[in-house]
Structures are given as structure tokens and as C-alpha cells.
């Protein structure tokens, strides 16, 4: 195998990794907001339920969650899932897991906004949703950029866990090449891919942070 074929195969796997990364964010960033609302709900049972969900997501390994989502439909309900279910299961597990983490980040951000902001908005006549959308959430975004950056960088690396379900993402490809070639070149190149991708993520998040630097509290 030439270096070019190796890089080509890895790049193909990288597309799948990228896809997992992208759809996990698309699903978990909004879902995380719902999670944070549930966690702060006035209705106690909702609060307990969401709290329980978060504790499971944070308290058990992601790899175990992947297996439960993948084998669950068959082992629990006898449902036969097709080949495509590998990637679907991966996305479901990732989105559920990351929504829990993002939910806690949103919540800490929302709770860190001083009460006076809510009160000023209330006296000015803003409705509850206007207050959240116009006044609170923009300030929350600025505050949560650092923990979000950490979590997103972790996600880039976590995409490699999809190999456990046999999804042909980059790490799966690299492992296959390494065992057939008998050297570590594919791992090295995959490592460079992950590293470069995270450098890009860090760069973008720095830009986002700068975009929010037009004010400070």
C-alpha cells in the first residue's frame, strides 16, 4: 500500500468522523438547551427525570452507552435493525451523551447571569421569552465559550469510539491499515488528522470568543 492510498483511505474515514462530529453538534446543542430547561424546571418530576438522565450520561462510559443503544433494540424488543443502524446508533448515543454535558454548561451559564438582569427586563415589560432570547441567552453564550470549547474538542476525539460499532470512521480505518501493514504509519497520520482538526476547532472558538469581546461585564 502506498502512502497515498493510506492517506486516501484515512481521508475517507475522516469524512465519516466529521459527519459524526457535525451531526452530534447539530443534535446536541439544541437538545442540551432543552435539557438545561428541564433541569431548572419548576415542575419537580421533570427536574428529577432530567437530573437522573444527566447522572446516567455522565456517570457511565460513553462506550457502554454506544453498546446499549446499538444492541438495545434487539436485546430488549427483539427488533432487527439493518446495517445502517450502526451509524444511527452512534449518532443517537453521541447526541444523548453530549446533550447532557451541554445541558449542564448551559445551566451553569444561565444561572450565572445576575438576578438584576431578569428584574430590569421584567420592569421594562419584556415577556419571559423575550427576556431569555434578547437579554439572558446572548450573555450566556459569551460565558460558556471556554467550557464549550473543551467539550467540543473532546467530541472530536470521542468520534473514534464509533469504531466499537464497526462504523468506518477514521480510527476504524487506521486500525485496519495498521494490522494489515504491520507498522504505525496509519496511526501517525490519523493522529495528525485529529490534531489538525482540533487546532482548527480551537482557532474557530478563539474567533468566536473575540467576536464576543466587544463588551465585558
Amino acid at each position: 500500500m502506498t502512502l497515498e492510498t493510506i492517506v486516501g483511505m484515512l481521508a475517507f474515514g475522516a469524512l465519516t468522523s466529521l459527519m459524526i462530529f457535525f451531526f452530534t453538534l447539530v443534535g446536541s446543542l439544541p437538545l442540551g438547551l432543552l435539557v438545561s430547561f428541564g433541569r431548572m424546571s419548576k415542575i419537580a418530576p421533570i427536574r428529577w427525570l432530567v437530573r437522573f438522565y444527566i447522572s446516567i450520561m455522565r456517570g457511565t462510559p460513553l462506550i457502554l452507552q454506544l453498546f446499549v443503544v446499538y444492541f438495545g433494540p434487539f436485546l430488549l424488543f427483539g427488533l432487527q435493525m439493518g446495517q445502517d443502524y450502526r451509524i444511527t446508533a452512534t449518532l443517537i448515543a453521541f447526541i444523548l451523551n453530549y446533550a447532557a454535558y451541554f445541558g449542564e454548561i448551559y445551566r451553569s451559564g444561565i444561572e450565572s447571569i445576575p438576578r438584576g438582569q431578569h428584574e430590569a427586563a421584567a420592569v421594562l415589560g419584556y415577556t419571559r421569552s423575550q427576556t431569555f432570547i434578547r437579554i439572558i441567552f446572548p450573555q450566556v453564550l459569551k460565558r460558556i465559550i471556554p467550557p464549550m470549547t473543551n467539550e467540543i474538542i473532546t467530541l472530536v476525539k470521542d468520534t473514534a469510539l464509533a469504531f466499537t460499532l464497526g462504523v468506518a470512521e477514521m480510527f476504524t480505518q487506521a486500525r485496519a491499515i495498521v494490522s494489515s501493514q504491520g507498522n504505525l504509519i496509519a496511526f501517525l497520520i490519523a493522529g495528525i488528522f485529529y490534531y489538525a482538526f482540533n487546532a482548527l476547532v480551537a482557532f474557530i472558538m478563539e474567533r468566536v470568543e473575540k467576536a464576543f469581546a466587544y463588551y465585558h461585564e
Binding site: 438584576g116 438582569q117 421584567a122 420592569v123 415589560g125 423575550q130 446572548p138 465585558h216 461585564e217
Partner: protein, 258 residues
């Protein structure tokens, strides 16, 4: 229509507790159009709580709260407090403004956006009209040229003037101030007091909680002295300061002098 002048604000037998402790015992007061009322009293006497109940930030536990003669909160037969519908309360909120001790400007909005956002998005008024009025208000507050500045770029005194402009932009019938100068360095209190003095000269209806006794004496038509959740004494500003009747007020005024 009755010819009788209705009070903008009318509070009757108001009670408010936090848990077991009652912090407003039996407060009755009314404010007429064009009146400037100062509320004084020792720390913990319930001044802020009274303003917060009047501005619907806290719920009363008893009594009647009315704006423009319309009761919006009162106790029912069982003694339970009943508030008007959310829609009515929302309309009532447009009748008053509140200036906070620590400004509570929106840090992510520029000065002009702080002032115009609520008139545009809450009152749904035309943007061009709101902007023109906001510019005029900022000029009046001595903030010309500051419209694009962010709150964090301003001094405390300037921030407080923006927050006054923000409250005035909604054209309230009555404006409440909760110790508007207490968070400021002493050399900055003057500019805020000057603004309030101007508003008083224009007969803006105001209720001002303050520790600035000479200011209250000079600007307010009436002073209310509160202690331990009660209105102990009230009267024409100069009479009350120069000739206090109750021991508690005498003690309070003496302490301030020393």
C-alpha cells in the same frame, strides 16, 4: 367620569413576609401626579421591598395595590392575594419605571440599544421615532456622543444616567428610584441628583428611596420615614426634616448628621 383626582399609585394596608418574618406590616400610601416623594429610613426597614412590591418584582401578601385607581392586586374573602391577569399586569408595567441601585444595564447592548430596545420590542413603537426620542433623552442626561458606547466603557454615574434614560424611554407615569446614588463614588452622586432635580422641576412623578437627606429635603414634596416595616411619619419635606415628631425619626436624623 369622576372629577376626583385619582392617585397614580395607591397602596392600602400592604403586608409582605419573607418566610416567617413580616417585613412590611401595614403600609398605606398614595402618590399624586407630579409629586416627588422621598422614602427614608434605616437599613432593613423595608424600603426596597416596598418598591419591589409596587413594581411587581415581589408579590404582596395582603392589602391593595392600585395604579390609576384600578386595583391590580387585592386580597379575596379568604385573605388570599389575587393579582390581575398577566395581560393586565403587563399593561400596568408600562405605567412605571424603576431605577436600580446598581443600574442593571444590559452589558451586551450599546447605550442607545439599552434605551431603545424595550420601546421597540415591548411597546412595538416605530423605530425612527424611538431613536429620535432616545437621542433627545441621552442629550438631556448629558450623554451626547455616548450612544454607541458599551456600558462597560462608562463611569458609574454615566451608567446610572443611561438607566434613567432607559426607564424614561417607555414614558412611565411614575418613576421609582431605589438608592440611585448608593453604588457610586461620592464625587459622582452629584450628576445623578442633578438629573433627578431636573425631572422634579418638570413635575415627573417620582418615588425616591434615598439616604441623601439634604437632597430629599430640597427636591421632594413629601418625605416618608419608614422603620421596621411601618410608615412611622410622613409630611412635607422641610417640616419632616426640620421638625421631626417621632423619637425614632429624631434618632435616625441625628445619626445621619454625625
Amino acid at each position: 367620569m369622576s372629577k376626583k383626582k385619582t392617585n397614580i399609585l395607591r397602596i392600602e394596608h400592604a403586608r409582605k413576609s419573607f418566610g416567617e418574618t413580616e417585613v412590611l406590616h401595614d403600609i398605606s400610601l398614595s402618590v399624586d401626579t407630579g409629586e416627588a416623594v422621598a422614602i427614608i429610613g434605616p437599613s432593613g426597614s423595608g424600603k426596597s421591598t416596598l418598591l419591589r412590591c409596587a413594581t411587581l418584582l415581589e408579590r404582596l401578601d395582603g392589602g391593595i395595590l392600585s395604579y390609576d385607581g384600578q386595583p391590580i392586586a387585592q386580597s379575596d374573602e379568604q385573605g388570599q392575594m389575587v393579582y390581575a391577569s398577566a395581560k393586565v399586569l403587563q399593561e400596568v408595567r408600562m405605567k412605571f419605571g424603576l431605577v436600580f441601585q446598581d443600574f442593571n444595564l444590559f452589558p451586551h447592548y450599546s447605550v442607545i440599544k439599552n434605551v431603545t430596545d424595550a420601546p421597540i420590542h415591548v411597546q412595538k413603537r416605530a423605530k425612527s421615532e424611538v431613536l429620535a426620542e432616545a437621542e433627545a433623552l441621552l442629550n438631556k442626561m448629558g450623554l451626547q456622543g455616548k450612544d454607541k458606547a458599551m456600558p462597560c466603557e462608562l463611569s458609574g454615574g454615566q451608567q446610572q444616567r443611561v438607566s434613567i434614560a432607559r426607564a424614561l424611554a417607555l414614558k412611565p407615569e411614575i418613576l421609582y428610584f431605589d438608592e440611585p446614588t448608593s453604588a457610586l463614588d461620592p464625587e459622582l452622586t452629584g450628576e445623578i441628583l442633578r438629573v433627578i432635580r431636573t425631572l422634579a422641576a418638570e413635575h415627573m412623578t417620582m418615588v425616591i428611596v434615598t439616604h441623601e437627606m439634604s437632597f430629599a429635603r430640597e427636591v421632594a414634596d413629601r418625605i416618608i420615614f419608614m422603620d421596621e416595616g411601618l410608615i412611622v411619619e410622613q409630611g412635607r419635606a422641610k417640616d419632616l426634616v426640620d421638625n421631626p415628631q417621632h423619637e425614632r425619626l429624631k434618632t435616625f436624623l441625628n445619626k445621619l448628621e454625625t
